[in-house]
């Protein structure tokens, strides 16, 4: 079977950080961008420890940073997955999701899991995007 040569770009969240040993914050192949599960960390530290709303915003900001660095935009997300550690956080999380995704309307999945990589983390969010797929195509 012939394989086409479609280059894979590995995306980091900033210019200085070393990529983690075993994954990339995002991978871009063609117009498709795969964003890793993002959590509420900034500069290597957990932020928003006290609130799931703040953690949701930070995780989504990290998703957006990865997308921008891949040459994509937040409104090109076609699917997201939300992993919570406590389903009773749902109402607060939904408020943020609706604010950020209400006009984008990707496919979405939301489940609660037993634990995330650090005990302070309340939410992890991953996303897939296709460049050029935004509903509104201003400043594309």
């Amino acid at each position: 079977m012939m394989a086409s040569n479609l280059p894979r770009r590995l995306i980091t969240l900033d210019d200085t950080s070393e990529p983690p040993a075993n994954f990339s914050p995002a991978v871009r192949v063609g117009d498709h961008v795969f964003v890793a599960g993002m959590v509420s960390m900034n500069g290597g530290e957990v932020v928003g420890q006290d609130g799931v709303v703040a953690q949701t915003r930070q995780a989504l900001d990290n998703v957006e940073t990865a997308l921008l660095r891949a040459g994509a935009r937040f409104d090109e997300i076609v699917r997201y997955r939300v992993y919570l550690t406590d389903m009773s956080d749902l109402a607060g999380v939904r408020t943020v999701l609706n604010a950020r995704f209400g006009s984008i309307r990707p496919a979405g999945t939301l489940v609660a899991v037993r634990s995330l990589v650090l005990p302070e983390l309340k939410i992890e969010i991953e996303a897939d995007a296709i460049i050029g797929s935004a509903l509104r195509d201003d400043n594309a």
Partner: protein
């Protein structure tokens, strides 16, 4: 941050599919999104006309979720035979014994990539299963060959 955006982006149309369910509006998502040949169906549960059906009956819940997914795929111009991946989220892993035969029924000839895990909770306590799928329209195995 350096501007990574290319000057010329290939524009593709985003088609949104809604099932009219109550959670789509407040959660900021669509039942399905189609871009090009790719169809992304949201995590779907046993909700019909805004109400959870099949309480306590994982078989009925599985069939309802798959029915929602089938309808969403059809609205997006795809079929169940175009599914390339499914993910099953159960709240009780023991239910897999009842759920997997239904997947055999629906996907036995289609054989997508599949994942099954148990999670600690779904959005409502009555929900026993959530299913999401990715499809590529036109990718169905030809039955004529």
């Amino acid at each position: 941050m350096p501007d990574q955006r290319e000057q010329n982006v290939n524009r593709t149309t985003r088609q949104l599919v809604s099932s009219g369910g109550p959670f789509e509006k407040i959660g900021g998502y669509s039942r399905a999104v189609r871009v090009g040949h790719h169809v992304f169906v949201s995590g779907s549960t046993a909700v019909k006309d805004g109400k959870i059906v099949g309480a306590g009956d994982v078989v009925a819940q599985t069939r309802q979720a798959l029915s929602t997914i089938t309808e969403a795929l059809q609205q997006a111009g795809a079929t169940l035979a175009d599914v390339v991946r499914y993910r099953i989220y159960l709240t009780n892993i023991a239910d897999s014994a009842k759920v997997l035969p239904i997947f055999g029924e629906y996907f036995g000839e289609i054989r997508p990539a599949g994942t099954l895990v148990a999670v600690s909770a779904l959005v409502a306590p009555e929900m026993m299963i959530e299913i999401e799928v990715d499809a590529i329209a036109g990718s169905a195995i030809s039955t004529s060959s």
